[in-house]
Structures are given as structure tokens and as C-alpha cells.
């Protein structure tokens, strides 16, 4: 456009920006400011807020439950980044060979990502159920009664059971990586064949380096979402047994429910800081140009 704007245009630009800016201030700027300010206050939501300095932070950092929550979130993130995503890459590479019915499998693997996290959690509660669950029934059938367990109720098994219920649902990242594989020109493989590379060599020396960017993006996405996960833990164990499955967001929620708004927001500030540090840090570490990847997606028309 020309650099000179008419008065009419200027008014239009401003009018068109007002709704977005209003919503953004109300739901992003004000809340973040609010969280930061009240994290230094003792406040129950009704009475007067009282400035207490960094007392809220020292309280939560001294709270074993909070430390447990951070640890759990980190485990959740690491299993996402280093088990979940590599499996997704493996399946994407397998399906990229277009075995019989690969479109069907691609559709099926995506199912758990399309039904909501809550519905999936309820489904797995049915499977882990102590009396009626499918898992215990299978163990009974194959004569392993000794392994039958109250999966979500026992201290040792609750957290692993939570991780296992989603870790094989690789559809989402698989689709992203598969789209990346489909952009690799066929000539590369033909050239390698002439040089005598066989199937596995082609996978390792051509496919893998070329999808590295997509894999690192997926790892970042998976790890960052692991830091703020809430729904399935809330539904399946609500942090129990004995806070073994406590998570950061659940901790914030519990403080809110107990009208300890200052503590809730101190925990929220920690969550925001960890979240932003993770995105920026992982981004630096993997040196990914997000914009570039996004543009590539458009040019290939998304997932084909």
C-alpha cells in the first residue's frame, strides 16, 4: 500500500483494532499484571489484600507438594519430548513407506487427539478400574492375577499409569512429521540408491536429517504442553494418591478453591516463568525458525 493513509483509512484502522485490543487487554495484559501483583499479597478474594513481599513464594517453595508438582511436570515434559515424539517420528517414517492401508492407520492414530482429553481420561479410568477394568481382566485371563492392581490408587503405579495412557497416542506429532517427510524430493533417494544406499541407510542419512527441524519443533511443543497439563490428572487422580500425581496447574487450582489467591498466583507466576523460559530456552537450544516451518506448512498445503 502507499505510505500515505487517508483520514478515512486511519479511522478505519483504529476502529478495526479496537475490539482486538480491548479483548487482549482484558484477557491478557490485565490478568498477567494481576497475577504478578497479587502474587506478593495475602488475599482471600473477598477481604482486603495485604502486601506480604515474597512470603508467598517462600511458602510454596517450601511446600513439598509444590516441589512434587514441579518434578511431575518435568517428568511429564521429558516423557513427551524424549519418548512420545521419537515414537511419533518412528511411526511417521514407517507410514511414509506407504504400507498397505497406511491412510487408514493415519486416521486411526489421530482418533485420541480428536476426542477431548477429558473423554480420553474417562475411557482410561474405565480400563484401569480396580473391579471392572479391562487391564485387570486381561491380567486375570492370562493367569497373571498377582499383577492385578488398583492402578490409579496405588502410590507406585498412579503416575506411570497416567503417563502410559497418552504416551502411545502419537497421531498428532506423527502427522506433522509425516507432512515434513512428504516434502523431501524423491531425487534424493534415487541419488542415494545409485550410490548404493539401502533402505535403512536412506532413512538414517537422508530422511532423518531432513525432518530434524520438524522433530525438534514437536519436542518443543510436547515439552511445553507437558508443563501446563491439567485435565487428565484432574479427572483421573485429582493429584492423589498422597499427592503423588500433583501437577503445577492443579496446585494453582487447589489454592484457588481454598481461597488462597496469593499462593495460587505465586504458583501461577512460577508456571508462567517456567513456561516462557522453556519456550525461549528450547528454541535457542534447537535454534528453530518457527516462522520458516510455518511457511513451509502453507506451501505444502498442510498435511497431504
Amino acid at each position: 500500500m502507499g505510505s500515505r493513509l487517508t483520514r478515512h483509512d486511519k479511522i478505519g484502522i483504529a476502529l478495526f483494532l479496537i475490539p482486538a485490543i480491548t479483548l487482549f487487554i482484558a484477557f491478557f495484559v490485565y490478568p498477567v499484571g494481576f497475577v504478578i501483583v497479587t502474587s506478593f499479597m495475602k488475599w482471600d478474594g473477598i477481604g482486603e489484600a495485604e502486601f506480604v513481599g515474597i512470603k508467598n513464594f517462600s511458602t510454596i517453595l517450601g511446600d513439598k507438594v509444590f516441589i512434587r508438582a514441579i518434578q511431575n511436570n518435568i517428568w511429564w515434559s521429558l516423557s513427551g519430548g524424549f519418548i512420545h515424539v521419537p515414537m511419533a517420528a518412528l511411526v511417521a517414517m514407517v507410514l511414509s513407506k506407504k504400507p498397505k492401508g497406511w491412510k487408514f492407520f493415519r486416521t486411526v492414530y489421530f482418533f485420541p487427539n480428536i476426542i477431548s482429553v477429558v473423554a480420553l481420561a474417562m475411557m482410561w479410568m474405565a480400563i484401569y478400574n480396580n473391579q471392572y477394568g479391562a487391564l485387570n481382566a486381561i491380567l486375570g485371563k492370562i493367569g497373571l492375577q498377582s499383577l492385578q492392581n488398583n492402578w490409579l490408587g496405588q502410590l507406585g503405579s498412579a503416575f506411570p499409569a497416567l503417563i502410559i495412557h497418552w504416551i502411545f497416542n502419537i497421531g498428532y506429532f506423527m502427522v506433522i512429521i509425516l507432512a515434513q517427510i512428504s516434502t523431501i524430493p524423491q531425487d534424493y533417494y534415487e541419488a542415494a540408491e545409485i550410490d548404493g544406499a539401502d533402505g535403512i541407510k536412506k532413512d538414517i542419512f537422508i530422511t532423518l536429517p531432513l525432518i530434524k527441524g520438524a522433530i525438534l519443533t514437536c519436542m518443543t511443543l510436547s515439552m511445553v504442553s507437558g508443563l501446563k497439563h491439567f485435565e487428565s490428572v484432574f479427572v483421573m487422580t485429582n493429584g492423589g494418591p498422597a499427592n503423588r500425581t500433583m501437577m503445577l496447574t492443579l496446585y494453582v487450582y487447589n489454592q484457588l478453591r481454598n481461597f488462597r489467591y496469593g499462593l495460587a498466583n505465586a504458583a501461577a507466576v512460577v508456571l508462567i516463568i517456567i513456561g516462557i523460559c522453556a519456550i525461549v530456552g528450547l528454541n535457542r537450544l534447537f535454534s528453530i525458525d518457527f516462522k520458516k516451518i510455518g511457511r513451509k506448512k502453507i506451501s505444502t498445503g498442510g498435511v497431504k
Binding site: 493513509l5 483509512d9 486511519k10 479511522i11 478505519g12 484502522i13 478495526f16 483494532l17 482486538a20 479483548l23 487482549f24 484477557f27 491478557f28 490485565y30 490478568p31 498477567v32 494481576f34 497475577v35 478474594g45 518412528l90 511411526v91 514407517v94 504400507p99 492407520f105 492414530y109 485420541p112 480428536i114 476426542i115 477431548s116 482429553v117 473423554a119 474417562m122 475411557m123 474405565a126 480400563i127 478400574n129 471392572y132 479391562a134 481382566a137 486381561i138 502411545f168 502419537i170 502427522v175 507432512a179 519443533t217 511443543l221 508443563l227 496447574t249 487450582y253 484457588l256 489467591y261 501461577a268 508462567i272 513456561g275 516462557i276 518457527f290 510455518g294 506448512k297 498442510g302 498435511v303
Partner: protein, 295 residues
């Protein structure tokens, strides 16, 4: 002209292709092992849940993996009667649709201003909105709760609609603005010559041409609104406004020991998602992946 070398080389190559080495067999075996393992893990729980939802509770305990002796729909009748699932699906639909429309209107208007004109604050405004993508929304529970209460829209549809429309704003603006920036300038110059003012150019030229970007953003926004849980729970209390996601969580309280009816209710709540996915598969996959890769 065919040389001797060619005639020799061609059969050699095909011969090598046909020969199945133990390594090939092993590779094939591994490939199918991977495919089948993930299929079992994904599909079996769903199939088991659906089959179980047609059984009686006694049958579920006595023979958990057999097909029901009699396929009976009593569980589904119970599910509808006990849970009020119809009303919850309707609430989810209303809230998701209006939140998506509102979000698209606000985001595409802002994107138009931020993509088709040069002005001083442009990149600052856009950059600030984009930072919103980085903020973990779950951390803002207390301020959203107090804000919605202050506005007097706690436990009302409009409270969730406004919240969802606002939360999705940074991502939608990012996607739509990216799309609008790519449209050629000549389009508007032609429009100006034809006497189109600011609003004509938006509604008649840019908006229709940005359809692809808007549909992608809308898909992402709709799925987010449909599946959102924390704020649906935190910002409502009565059954009148309850969305399906919050409703699912209450199934275990509502049905207590009537497990098979609860399974039926879970199946009902999953069906719309699966149907929508099968109908709009390509759209949903590209909407979800693009939205997330950018977010």
C-alpha cells in the same frame, strides 16, 4: 542403441529387487509390529468401551471381553435420562460456534489493519498480541475468575464465549494476518480506483480472498472451544450452562456403580467428535497442526 552393458544391468537390478533377504523380512516384520502395536493401543480401548456399553453390569464382570449376549440399548436410555447429555452437547455447540464467529470477526478485522497498511505502531501492536501465544493460559485462573465475576457473567454462556474468543485471539490473528499479508497489493489498488472505501475493501476484496486462512484458524478455534475444560469448569456452576467436557467428568458421580450406563454416556459424548473428524478430516488435521506449529 543397446549396448551389452545395458542388457546385462537391467535384469541384474530386477533380480536384486525380487530377492528377499532375511534383513528385508526382519524389516517388514518390525514395520508391521509397530503399525499393529499402535493400532491396538489406539483402537482397542475404544472398541472395548463401545462393546461394554451394550452389556449389563453383571455381564461386564463375568465376561469382560466377549460380545454382549444381547445387544441392548437400555444403557443409552439411562445415559440420556440421568446425565442430561443432550443439553450439555447443545451448550457446547452454542458456545463453540458463537465463540468461533466472534473470534474470527475480531481477529480478521485486526489482521486487516495489521497487514494491509503501514503505520508506526503496527509491528509493536502485532508483536504484543503474539506474545499472548507464549502465556500459559492455565496460569490465569484467578484473574479470569474474578474478571468474569466482576463483569457479572459468571455461570452464563456469554462468559465462556467471551473467554474462549479472547484466548484464541493471538493464534487466530497470527494465522489470518500471515495469510492476508500474502495477498497482492494490486487487488486493493484496483479497488481504490473502483471507488471502494476502507470497509468495502475489507468485506468485498480481502475477506473473501482470505477464506483459506480464516477456515484454518476457525477450525483450530472451534476445536479448542469444544474441548476446553478448565475454564468451562471454573466459570460455570449450574447444569444450565454446563458443557459436555465438564459433564463427562461428572458421569462418575452421576452413575456411581452403573458402569455400563456411564460407558454409554462416554460413547455418546465422543461420537460427535469422531463424526466431525471423519467428515472434515483434511481440514481438521491441517487446522490443528498449523495452529499448533505456529503457536
Amino acid at each position: 542403441m543397446i549396448t551389452k552393458a545395458d542388457t546385462v544391468a537391467i535384469p541384474l537390478k530386477t533380480e536384486r529387487r525380487k530377492e528377499i533377504t532375511p534383513v528385508d523380512t526382519l524389516k517388514k516384520f518390525f514395520m508391521w509390529f509397530v503399525i499393529i502395536w499402535f493400532t491396538i493401543f489406539t483402537l482397542m480401548p475404544m472398541i472395548w468401551l463401545v462393546v461394554s456399553s451394550f452389556k449389563t453390569n453383571t455381564e461386564l464382570v463375568s465376561s469382560p471381553f466377549s460380545l454382549p449376549t444381547k445387544w441392548q440399548f437400555q444403557n443409552y436410555i439411562n445415559a440420556f435420562q440421568v446425565s442430561g447429555i443432550g443439553k450439555m452437547l447443545l451448550n457446547s455447540l452454542i458456545i463453540s460456534i458463537i465463540a468461533t464467529v466472534l473470534n474470527m470477526m475480531v481477529a480478521s478485522m485486526a489482521s486487516f489493519s495489521l497487514s494491509r497498511f503501514q503505520f508506526k505502531m503496527r509491528e509493536l501492536v502485532f508483536g504484543t498480541i503474539i506474545i499472548g501465544i507464549l502465556i500459559p493460559i492455565n496460569a490465569l485462573m484467578v484473574p479470569y475468575f474474578t474478571l468474569i465475576n466482576k463483569l457479572g457473567i459468571y455461570d452464563k454462556h456469554v462468559g465462556l464465549i467471551l473467554t474462549y474468543a479472547a484466548i484464541g485471539l493471538p493464534i487466530s490473528t497470527y494465522i489470518i494476518r500471515g495469510f492476508m499479508s500474502g495477498l497482492p497489493v494490486e487487488l486493493e489498488e484496483a479497488g481504490i480506483i473502483d471507488g471502494c472505501n476502507f470497509y468495502d475493501r475489507f468485506f468485498k476484496i480481502i475477506l473473501p480472498l482470505s477464506r483459506t486462512g480464516i477456515v484454518t484458524a476457525a477450525t483450530f478455534q472451534f476445536l479448542f472451544s469444544w474441548n476446553e475444560f478448565i475454564y468451562a469448569m471454573l466459570l460455570t456452576s449450574s447444569q444450565n450452562v454446563r458443557t459436555i467436557q465438564v459433564g463427562i467428568r461428572y458421569f462418575s458421580n452421576q452413575f456411581t456403580t452403573d458402569y455400563t450406563s456411564m460407558y454409554a454416556a462416554i460413547v455418546i459424548s465422543i461420537v460427535p467428535s469422531i463424526l466431525g473428524y471423519i467428515l472434515f478430516q483434511e481440514q481438521i488435521i491441517s487446522g490443528l497442526t498449523q495452529g499448533a506449529v505456529k503457536g
